[in-house]
Structure formats: C-alpha cells, structure tokens
Amino acid sequence: MYQQQYQHQPAQQRQQQQHGGGGAGAGGGGQNREPVDPFQARQLYRNELATLTFNSKPIITSLTISAGENASVSKVIVQTIEERLRTAPANQKLPTLYLIDSILKNVGGPYLNLFARTIVTLFLDAYAVVDTSAKASFEKVLGTWPNWTSQLFPKELISKIEQGVRSMRQQKQGSHQPSSSHGKPHHPDRSREDPYSQNANNMHGSNGSQNRPTPPPAPVESSGDNGLLKDIQLLMLQKQHAMIMNPADQASAKQVGILQQLESLVKTTQLTPESSNIIRQQLAQLWTPAPAPPVLPVFPQGGMPTVSSPMPPNMIPGSMPPLQPPQPPTMPLPPNMPFPPPHFPPQFQPGSIPNPHMMGAPLPMPIPPAGIPMPGGLPMPIPPRSMPIPPRSMPIPPRSMPMPMPPMPIPSMPNAPTPPTLPGAPAANLFASLMQSGLLGPNGALANLNRNPQPPMMGGTPPPPMPIPLPLVSAPGPALAPPTLDRADQSEQDRSVMSLGMIELSSQDIQRRRPAAIQVMYGTPPLQCNQCGYRCPKSADAQKKMDSHLDWHFRQNRRMKDKAKKSHSRSWLVGEEDWIHSREGDLSQSQQPVFFDFASGVNKTSKDEQALQEEIAAMKERIVSEATLAQGLCGNDPGATANVSTLIAKGCSICKEKFIKVWNEAEEEWSYKNAVVVDKMVRIELDYLVRSTARQAAAAAAAVATAAAESMSASSSALPSTLPTGFELTTTAQMDIKDEDMKEDINPELKVEGDQQSQALGQDTKDHVMTLAAAAGTTDSDLPTSLKRKLEIDNVEESESASKKSILSRDS
C-alpha cells in the first residue's frame, strides 16, 4: 500500500490546478459524484491533461485519481487520453503513456477493456515517433504489463505490441541514428525528468513486482470501500506532505488527525454507498485547501451581530444543538434555499448544513479562489458511524507553545486497541466543524457510537470543557466563513441596490432622479485600483478581491514586459460544445485549451513550461556571496567558518558539480553562482529545488514507514530499513537526501539547531516557489494571491511551528 501511496504522491500542481479554474476543481477532485456530465468531465479532464507536458508524478497521480473517481464516464476519459497521446508532441507522449499505465494498474476496472480496444495502435504509433530514450521507457512500461498481478490486457494484445516494438527496433538497427531525438532543453530536462524517470524506471522496472500495490493491510469488510479507503490514505499522505513541507501548517496536521479517524472508520464499518459518497465529497473538498489565510470574517456593519467566535468553546462539550451558522435575521438569505442536499443521511438536520454553496450547485458563485479561508475545516458530514478513536482525550496545549512531543497521529494501526491521542488544538477546529455538521456527538465522538465498543471513555460523561486556545486560524469557525462571507458580500452589494426601492422597468420610472443610485456605482469608502480605476464593491472580502485584481494587473504587466521576449498571437476560437461547457476562467487564464494543441507544432513546450524554463534560466544567474554561505553553513558560530571554504570547494553535495566562483563587483566580495545552503550542506540551487520534491516525498514516505512500524524504534539508523522496499530503488541523489537529510530530520539532537535554519530555508524555498509560480502564473489565474496568503499564514504561524522535526522524532 505504501508504495502505492508513494507512487501517488499528490502535490502542489494539483492545488494550483484547482485554484486556477474555478469549477475546474470538480473534475480533479471528483466533486460531483452524482451523474457526471460527460461533456463537463471531458472538458475538465482535458484541461488537466493538457498540463501533462512533462514527466510529473503529481499530475499523473491526480489524473489517475480523477479517472478512478469518474469511472462512470470512463469512456470519455479514455477517449480524451487517447486523443492526447495521439496529438501530443513527441516529447510529451511518454508522460501520457505513464498516465495510461498508472490508470491501468491502479484503477483498472472499465479502463482495462476500454484501453484494450486501441492499445496496440495507440502504443505503437506513439512508440514510433518518440526518441530513443523515451522508446526505452516505453519498452519498460510494456515490460511490466504481462506479469502484472492482475491481467491488464489479453496476452495476444501484449504480444502484438511486443512484436511491433521488435520490428521497429530492428528497422532502427539499420539506421541507428535516432531521427527524432528532440533537443530537450538542458535544464528542465535534468531538473524535471531525472527524479521521475529514474523513479519511473523503478516503477516500471522488470522487477515491478516490488511495487505492486498490495491490498491495504487493514481488514476491509466491504470491498466497495476500497477506493474510498485509498482516497483517504492518499489524501492523508498529501496532508502529511504538506505538514512536513511546512511545519507551521496546522491545518494539515489536524486534517491528518481527522483523516486517520476516517480511515479507521471506513475500515471498521460497513458504509452505505451513500455515506461513502458523502465522505468522498468531503474528501474532494479537502484536496484543495492550501493552508488558508487566517482571516476573521469581517461582517458588514450591522449585517452580523458581533460574534467574537462563531464557535464558542462551550459548544463543543455541551449538548449538540443543530448548530447553525450564526445567521442574523437581517441577512437576506434566499427565502427558499434550494440546497438541502437530497443525499444527506436522515440524521442530518437540514439546519446544520452550514453552507448552501458548499453542497449544492456544482459551480458556486465565483468566489475569488484564493481568498477563501478554508483552513481545512470543512464540515465533514461523516455518516455517524462508529469511530474507534476518541478524539479529545488529552488536554490541549496552547498552540503557541512548542508542543513538546505531540503524539503525532501518523497512521494508527488499523485496529489499535488503545485510543491514540490527538493533538487536540489543531484538530479541534475540524472536530468542531464535524460536530457542527451533526456528525460528531456532543462529546466529540461520533454521533452514533453504537456500533463500536471501542471508546468506552466517551460513553456518558462529557469531558470537561476543552480549553480551546482559539488562535487566529480556528477562531472564526472557518467552516462557516467562506459561505457567510460570500453571502454577506453579495447581500451588502445587493442591499444597496435594493434599498433604492424597486425601479420599475417603465419609461417613466427610469427617468426619475435617484442620487443614491450613483452611490451604488461609486460606493463609499472607495477601494480602488490605482492602475485602472477598478473599484471593489464594498464588501467583506473587498480586499481579497482587490488583491486578486492587482494580481491580474501584475500578470498583465508581466506579459507586457515579456512582449519583447516572446510574441503573442490571437488564438483560434473554441468549438461550440467547448464554448458551452467551458468557463471563462478555464479558457482565458488557467491554461490554453487543449483545442489549441494542434497549433503547437511550432512551439512544442507549453506556456507554463516556457515560463518555468525562463525562470530557471534566470535563477541560474543568481550568485551568492561566500559570507552568506558561511553564515548559512555555520550559523553564527565563528569557529566553524574555517572549513567553509573546503566545504564549498567540494562542490554541490548532491551532484558534486563545482561552484562557479565569481567576483561580485557591486558587493566587492567573492561569490558563488547558484549556491544554496540546505540543511548545512551547500548545493547547487537548482538541484535543491528540484530535489526538494523528491525529498519531501522521501520524508513523507519515511514518516509513513516510521508510523507503520510503530514497534520499531525510530533511531535514525533503523530508519532506512523501515522504508518501503520500492523506495530503495531511488536514485543515488535521493539516497543522498535520504541518508543525510532524513537522518537529520529524524535525529532529535539536530532538531533544535536545524529548526531555525530550516525555517529560514523554508522561507527561501517559498520565495522560489513564488517566483516559479508567478512565472507559471501567466497562465494560472490566482496563484500569486494564494501563495501570498500562504506566506502570510506561514509568517503568522512561524513562531508556533511545531516543526516537522518534532513530528518525525516523536518516537524517539
């Protein structure tokens, strides 16, 4: 299972993707489980597929999951993928093949038959045009098919492909020269492909058996929940990544807690399809949230009775009223709210649905995507089933306190008889929302505990009121915040419009003078863009809107600046169906519609990639002074500076490349090109950036492994042996990371000093991510804001980073 999870590491891309296109998230996250509109599915899937222009595991993973979730429209998806494989430029075919491979192996089901129909020609056609190295990868993939745990394709089919491959290879032997080896740009090549392709070799290597997804060790009663379980575990992994990547990310921490509970819930109970659907929906929503801005909802004056904390602490232990978002009567909510979701389990109080938007329409109002405070605490309507883990059985330390050894809830053993304790504070928030949605009982236990004898202590007596520190993040009851904000915003604007009194659409009434009408257009107090005169309607999230508007300017200006570098053209218009089913956000900002691919014969790389390459090229010119490096390497310890130069002279600790020493005239000091200090090792910056993904993966995998082997001591030397087998086949570079970084990460002695540095480093990395993202932002609509927000949170929470170190070293 772990291999599989690893293989499926979902990451940033996915989030970006979802930020990009408003509704586009639906397909990726599989939000609409009910009848999926094939057109829409096709659109969404195609959009996501269009981003698969290079070997990107996260994208492949995400697409695989999408495919799994949308099995009902598998036909459409298969068509889309086939189309993609056929039309993609030669250097982009391999990732698509990996995607097919991934879907076959991890999803299977209807996809096996569907792909079987065309796989021979599909494979061979693509094989014929790709370059030699890609051919090898094609063959490796093919090599894993016959001996897969389950039969992927009938033997005849595979042998047909093999024959085709063989004959093509023989032809080639004559004219050995690979005709179509595209000169791939050096850096992106190195940067993007190495980790994956090696990994891919590993994945698809002849001894692929090592990587077979083994069924989860958990006792799964209903096989139908298998997928769900997988979802949960994947999601959990993602959150753990997020946590490790960003120690300050409390939101993920608490989500992990919740997810664990969910996991065991799913494992130990028989869910009705309906309830698993609901869980899925909630999971889908959890995929998105980047740690969200800790924004207190600013309610329009008079609109909202002052609620210091919409979720008073006593709410939690107390009896559970069908908690409703504190809606003031003045809020002009639609009188007949059309949203009681029909699929809700009967236990639900309709009133407890905090947000109409959340459940209902597939395309909610255009919420500025980045601006939604979604600290993960979406109310998760988990069907009130048993739950073996009593959630809050320990006193919660105030969050700012460095949690000494917070027993980090990394995967509990499925049937762990002892209720693991949770770091309550982070989870409290989510729990609160769970309770809010009526799922958790008054005690914070799941509402109906009847099925599970496990948590006796949760029985009758409610524990004492929990001291919730209510830090910024959890204060506003974030689950409620987004809808309320949106609604409030809408109503504020609407109110001023309506307050004029209904204007009759008659030629007489239209002529009457209404001074207030002008006021509607030029609202007080003005929040106005100084670049174009755009005025934000007065509302609770005006600032956020303005932010995204300014981001838009930023992107536009950037494009203007780029004009000299690359020319822009008008593109072709989309087809009728695509026009009907697409939304402006998808088309104009997040990415080029796939439709335009045929025009990409000339510029093979996608816009994103181009931007990325430029950014990387620009970054390459970065120089770092010796002093800075020394500082980074030795902290403030002056004694250690002596060996700095020897360290630097050794070159990059990853690739051993020597640093280029240059004289920085401006600063009058010796500097090194692209050097960066990472965890006390000096590295080529690009290497670091590129490997950091791998590193996070490694860290996460290790975390999972550590947790899985709870009985084992977590001494650093023991660690490698706890790694999943598949993991050992990673590249030497990754081994490097594993050996050095991971030990360091996990070794508690290094924790304290490492902390500070990694903090700074984290910041540094974020900056890079920012710039990279900004580059990619030419095609992604809302990234800059979201990232800025993310940074803000990070800063806020910096002090209270219960860091990854402590998490990882919990057992020692």
Binding site: N336, P366, M498, V574, S588
Partner: protein, 432 residues
C-alpha cells in the same frame, strides 16, 4: 515633432466631454481629479489612456478634471445627457439580478433595439460595464452583423464577460485566449457574411436560432451568467424584416426587457407587439453625443478591426503568422447569393429560398486576394450543418500563386490552420 500642450478640461457634475479622434492621430487622456467613466468603465486617476480613431464620451457623475494631449477633431462638453436614465435602467436590471440570485432564477435578458446610429452598442457596453462593476458575469450577444464589435463584421457572436471592459480596446479586440494586455474573452461566433440581415434573411434567422440555442445551453450550466443575464445588441434594421427578426429574437432568447433607443414609433410598435406579462418595453433617449457615422468612418473602423484582429493594438501587439497553403488542402465555401442561378434557370418547382442557404465551393483564384476568410470549425462538409458550425477564426489572403496552386495567408497564430473549410464573404482588406 513637438508634443502639443495638454489641454485641461473641467467638467461639472453629470457633464460629458465628447471627443472625436481621427484614425491617423493619437490622443492621450488622463483623469486628474474626480471620477469619470467611458461607456460605463470607470477611469483610473492619473492613468494615461490612448485613443485613435474613436469617438469617446467621458462622463462624470461627480465632476472632474481631465487632461487631453493630442489633437481631437471634435471636442466639447455637453451637460445634457440621458445618463441618469441609463443608470436607472442598470439599477432596475441589477435589482432583477438580485432577485434572480435569491430565487435561483434567470437574470434579465435585455435586447436593445433602435435604428442605426442611436448608440445601441454604446448603451450595451454601458449596461454590461455597469453589470461587470457589480461583479456580474453577463453574456453579450452581438447580432449586428454589420459591425462585429467582438470579432469581425459579418458575424453573430455571443461573449461571456467576466473582466472589466477595457477603456481603450472596447470589448473589441481581445476576443481570444491569447495573453493580450486587455481582458481576454472567448466569443462564440457564427458566420453570416453579409452586412445586413436582409441580404440573406433565411441564413440570418438560422444562425440566430443556433446562437440562441448555444447561449441557452450555456446559461443552463453557468450559474453566474444565468443570474447576470444577457444583453443583446441588434442591428439597426427596423422595417418589416427587422420586426420579424426582433420577434424571433425575443422568442429564441426569452427576452424579458426590450429597450427601444431613440425611436418613438418603434417604441409604440414594440409596446403593442411585445409588451405582455413578463416582457417590459422601455424607451430611452439617444445621447446627443451619438453622431451619424458615415460610410467612410464605418469602413475605416472595419479596417481597424481587421488590423487589430491580426496585429493587435499598439498597447498589446500581436504577431500573426504567414503561411503558404496548397489549393487542394482547403475548401473555400460561399453561401447563397453569389452563386444564385437566375430564377429562370431553376428547375420547375424549385423554390428560390432553398438556395439562400445553399453552400457552393469557390475555386481559389486571383479573386481571393485581400479577402478575409472565416475559418469554420467544421470537419466535414455536411449541409446544412456546416452553415451552423461556429468559427475558429479568420485568415487573410495576402498572396495568390495561381501558377503554383498555392496561396499565402495571414493566420492569427502560428501553426497549421486548424480546419479546411473557409467561408468567403464580402470582406476585403488592404493590408498596409
């Protein structure tokens, strides 16, 4: 060349500064203090806006000071404007949008009718701009085939708007997903190819129906657009044919608000014919700033449009792409008219009307030189479906190599031209 001194204009409350700028001059406009808007889009303070070949009305609700650099052919301040009623109309529509949102119903579907040169397009722009300013996402439907404010003349288009309408570009020039400086819009365009609906009424109503169908389908899914509603700009035809088209339009788009601009009789007729429960008919005065555009001006506007389609504006330049194509790789089509046989030559019993939508192939020849052709999204030539297939874009024939059976065309973007069926209309353009 020395820059002319900037000229300062002080506007009182609810005054309008009207300027006309020739095609060959450029004028910079800057709002110094106060507030001002151009066709509903608010100007930013101390931002330079550059115009060329435009007739602009800068209106202020609160009074303002404006600096103008450059020579305008016409410039004056007017203090009588119908802006108040335009704003009230917007507020009334906005109220309907609020109710629509609350009740999950459809927002107002507005059609603006009136003769030529009363400011229909300007009013649509204003109403759309106002709606956008209140975070709505209306769809703009342009049925004026003579002008083509979104793509090119000869098209019927529908365009969802989400970003502010650019003051300098109007909503004209973007119309793409290319990263231009202005807001990028993605129109749905059907090719009609004649300046007036009268030229081929059957085709026009065919396309109108198709456009309405697509828009309605989108509105079903697009909640934001549904509650924001649509604004339809019509062409100035108000004779019997025009009335028929208006009636068809009302039905096809489920119009519930008809705005009659600057024409009393039309207002009376519309009230009589269409005012019933659910459909409101209102009349608005035309703005004094609206001037009659002579043919030369229209022609120049058209040329400018075509130029902008390929090359963009000075602010956001685009790079078109020249490519050579074999005659046999493409198929040039034409509808009806040009190919109509004389009635006497028709088979007995054959109805002339049939050939109005008849598609004929056109052999590539020198005649195509300087033509602007519309590239259909169709993959197969199936009649009558191909007529109703929307457009992928336009190309311009810059050279004909008849002897080699090739032609050189200007395509808006690099790469192969996606589709092989190209419509020939009456549009010609002499690239400078």
């Amino acid at each position: 060349m020395t820059l002319p001194e900037p000229k300062e204009w002080l506007l009182d409350e609810e005054n309008e500064l009207r300027i006309e700028i020739d095609f060959d001059t450029k004028v910079k406009l800057r709002l110094v203090t106060g507030t001002a808007e151009v066709f509903g889009t608010e100007l930013g303070q101390n931002v330079d806006y550059e115009f060329s070949g435009r007739k602009i009305a800068v209106f202020t609700w609160h009074g303002c000071k404006i600096l103008i650099t450059g020579t305008c052919s016409v410039e004056y301040i007017a203090n009588e404007t119908p802006m108040l009623s335009y704003l009230n109309t917007h507020i009334a529509l906005e109220q309907r949008r609020v109710l629509a949102t609350q009740n999950n119903k459809a927002g107002p579907r507005v059609m603006i009718v009136g003769p030529n040169d009363v400011g229909k397009t300007s009013l649509s722009k204003m109403l759309l701009s106002y709606a956008l300013r209140q975070s709505r996402q209306p769809i703009y439907v342009d049925l004026d085939c003579s002008e083509g404010s979104i793509t090119m003349p000869g098209c019927l288009t529908a365009t969802p708007l989400t970003e502010m309408i650019d003051v300098e570009e109007g909503f004209g020039s973007s119309a793409t997903s290319a990263p231009t400086a202005g807001s990028a819009v993605m129109p749905l365009a059907y090719y009609y190819g004649f300046p007036s609906p009268k030229d081929n009424t059957k085709l026009y109503s065919l396309l109108l129906a198709r456009l309405a169908q697509s828009v309605n389908r989108r509105l079903e899914e697009d909640e934001a657009a549904r509650t924001s509603g649509i604004v339809i700009d019509t062409n100035g035809l108000i004779d019997a044919t025009g009335y028929e088209i208006i009636a068809q339009c009302i039905k096809a788009f489920s119009i519930d608000v008809i705005i009659v601009l600057g024409h009393e009789r039309l207002y009376a007729d519309m009230t009589r014919l269409h005012q019933k429960s659910g459909v409101a008919v209102i009349k608005l005065a035309k703005s004094g700033g609206v001037v009659e555009r002579d043919n030369a001006f229209r022609r120049q506007t058209q040329n400018q449009k075509i130029r902008e389609y390929f090359y963009g504006t000075s602010k956001s330049e685009l790079a078109p792409y020249s490519t050579m194509i074999n005659y046999h790789d493409i198929e040039i089509l034409q509808v009806g008219e040009g190919s109509l046989a004389p009635s006497s030559a028709l088979p007995i019993g054959e109805d002339r009307k049939v050939s109005e939508t008849h598609v004929v192939s056109v052999e590539p020849s020198e005649n195509l030189l300087h033509s602007v052709l519309a590239v259909s999204n169709a993959d197969k030539r199936v009649e009558p479906d191909i007529l109703e297939t929307n457009l992928a874009g336009f190309i311009y024939v810059s050279e004909i190599h008849d002897s080699r059976k090739k032609l050189t065309v200007l395509s808006p973007c690099p790469g192969r031209i996606p589709k092989k069926f190209w419509w020939l209309g009456s549009l010609k353009w002499a690239e400078d």
